[in-house]
Symmetry: C2
């Protein structure tokens, strides 16, 4: 008998830049010319059926004009297509077109596109570099920091995937102009969540600048993109593998994800999250962590952002309570929630643990009353 030790200790540098600005297509090309991804010359542009015509085709042409090989790999827009099947179709199409390890993936779109494309990049040829060109507010709020990539399966949301960091992220605010208002509202839900859990000043800013955001005022939008990055970065930096602190980002998500699923995705993620935040603010109120006024301030800000704050009548409340147990924070069969503490902070249940065990009866009562 013998033991052979495989020594694999090393320094890994996954650092990258997020560039926030207006119309960044040319900047992307300049960055590539300056060696952003070394001397790679082949770009697989992954996008969805909506963003393709709005932005991806144009960027693909810019790449070709600059002397690169570029092909568009498109899938039907929508969260329901963020599947292993779509990943497989894109992989096969890339192989068919002769893409191998010497390529770079360029994701152009919202969170569904960047989640999926980042996952494709992580396993194509055992990993090729990727760049995110994000075209939604939600992607700015949620998908640009953290390296989470994934697909959904019939039994679980975002449970098959990878931690995979991009080479660079572009947040092109100008693209928000083509977002339907409902999508902007949905993106604002994550933004408001960030304010609630980490930054009271940002909460006030949102309260004062909501109209500018909806008219895509450049300064206001750049500011919220930056603040979203900052909050998420500060949380994620300290906990890249989601062991403890990162759980705070789950504020509103215990109820929110459950509503999203029970609604069969009639509700957008941000809409479901908004309702979840209201439910969880009520829970925090009952536990004495927020005041009546603070709870109302959360609801009012969500309403200003044109988000729903009540559980739709068509949602089966019992199914919703049952669904809470599929949450990834469930431990030993016990529900656990991130609890808001005033505006701009959350409860630390015990050292390094930010999810608090809650009796089902309490959760049920709040849900039944909404």
């Amino acid at each position: 008998m013998s033991i052979f030790n495989v020594e694999l200790k090393k320094v890994v540098d996954d650092s990258y830049d997020i560039e926030i600005g207006f119309e960044l297509q040319q900047k992307l090309i300049t960055d590539l010319k300056n060696g952003l991804v070394g001397n790679l010359k082949k770009f697989a542009v992954i996008t969805d059926s909506i963003v393709k015509e709005l932005y991806a085709e144009k960027i693909c042409h810019l790449l070709q004009e600059a002397g690169y090989t570029a092909d568009i790999f498109v899938f039907e827009a929508g969260e329901t297509n963020k599947t292993r099947k779509t990943k497989e179709l894109i992989e096969d199409a890339m192989l068919e077109k002769g893409y191998r390890r010497d390529c770079c993936i360029l994701a152009i779109g919202g969170g569904v596109v960047t989640d999926l494309a980042g996952f494709v990049a992580g396993t194509f040829g055992r990993g090729v570099p990727f760049i995110n060109y994000a075209t939604t507010l939600l992607a700015a709020a949620d998908a640009s920091v953290g390296g989470k990539t994934a697909v959904d399966t019939p039994l679980a949301t975002n449970l098959i995937g990878l931690f995979n960091q991009p080479q660079k992220v572009y947040l092109d605010i100008a693209t928000w102009k083509t977002l339907p208002e409902r999508q902007i509202a949905s993106g604002l839900a994550e933004t408001i969540k960030h304010a609630c859990l980490a930054n009271r000043e940002f909460f006030e800013y949102l309260n004062e600048h909501m109209e500018e955001i909806f008219t895509i005022d450049r300064e206001a939008c750049e500011h919220i993109a930056e603040e979203n990055c900052r909050v998420k970065y500060e949380v994620v930096m300290k906990d890249e593998r989601e062991s403890g602190l990162r759980e705070v980002l789950n504020l509103g998500h215990t109820v929110g994800r459950a509503i999203e699923t029970v609604s069969e995705y009639q509700l957008l993620h941000g809409e479901a999250l908004a309702i979840g935040m209201v439910a969880e603010a009520k829970l925090a109120l009952r536990m004495g962590y927020v005041t009546e006024q603070e709870k109302d301030a959360v609801i009012e800000l969500l309403q200003k952002a044109k988000l729903p704050t009540a559980i739709p009548t068509y949602i089966d409340r019992e199914a919703l309570v049952k669904k809470l147990y599929t949450d990834k924070k469930v431990k030993n069969g016990k529900l656990r929630f991130v609890i808001q503490k005033g505006i701009g902070s959350v409860v630390e249940f015990e050292k390094g643990v930010f999810a608090t065990p809650i009796d089902e009866a309490v959760a049920r009562e709040i849900i039944m009353e909404m």
Copy 2:
């Protein structure tokens, strides 16, 4: 416009042990009790239809007796099942049984099982730990060092996957007793390749101990398992991401992989590799890097290991030449081979580059003569 820098530099320690010995089932349990995977209590045992009855069921029972939760996830044995579909079925079965992030995957089987299970582990819940309990000589030679995991697709072998390091590898020599002779021979092809490219003494050892290996003599088999790990480790350690040096492990594979595919997997990987090594030894002879005697010594050792050394008559030679171009070493449309240099070394074409460009005409001639 602003730039937000996401700083993600860190020290990663993926080190692990390979334990080589006879009947290591109890040792595995002891290691788990001693905290090999922390306090994880749920084990998804991934295996194939042959190994299930031979070893996996027993190990699963040992886990359960030791107080762990353990379920077997089985797929039909064979390289043709190392697919995205099989991965998907296992993932769904794991989710169905309630497996989430707080589990560990235990792969029990040969290279197909460890390749697939390591890939499942890498993307399940964005990564759960895994342990390899290898039951074949080929896994000892090939799959235990390097962290390569993957599946095959209709258009490419091993091109969708991940670099993912296990928590520990067990090479249980006793399990080799249940291997068909053809599988032992196939495993020996990678072993002989390692000797040819890195260690002349090991080549001599194999020449002198071939009979003991086929009778699964404990000392001889432990020795070859160790030497396989050592050669592979020394190469992989210096080049974890397969940029340069790691290419040396491709000795024999340019022709070998092409034969394997054109034979439609009638030939086992090791059998195809053996033929590929002969072709590439002939190429090295023609280029003056090995002598006639060295080329013959390679052929004789392969024959002693009961491996084929000629291209079967049913293989279409023209299809074979064409197939060479799907090799991952092809660069700018030009074939590149790893060339053996004497016994125990390979040609370094230029600094850090171990694949040498070869004219198709030369490769064709050698193939036509075999």
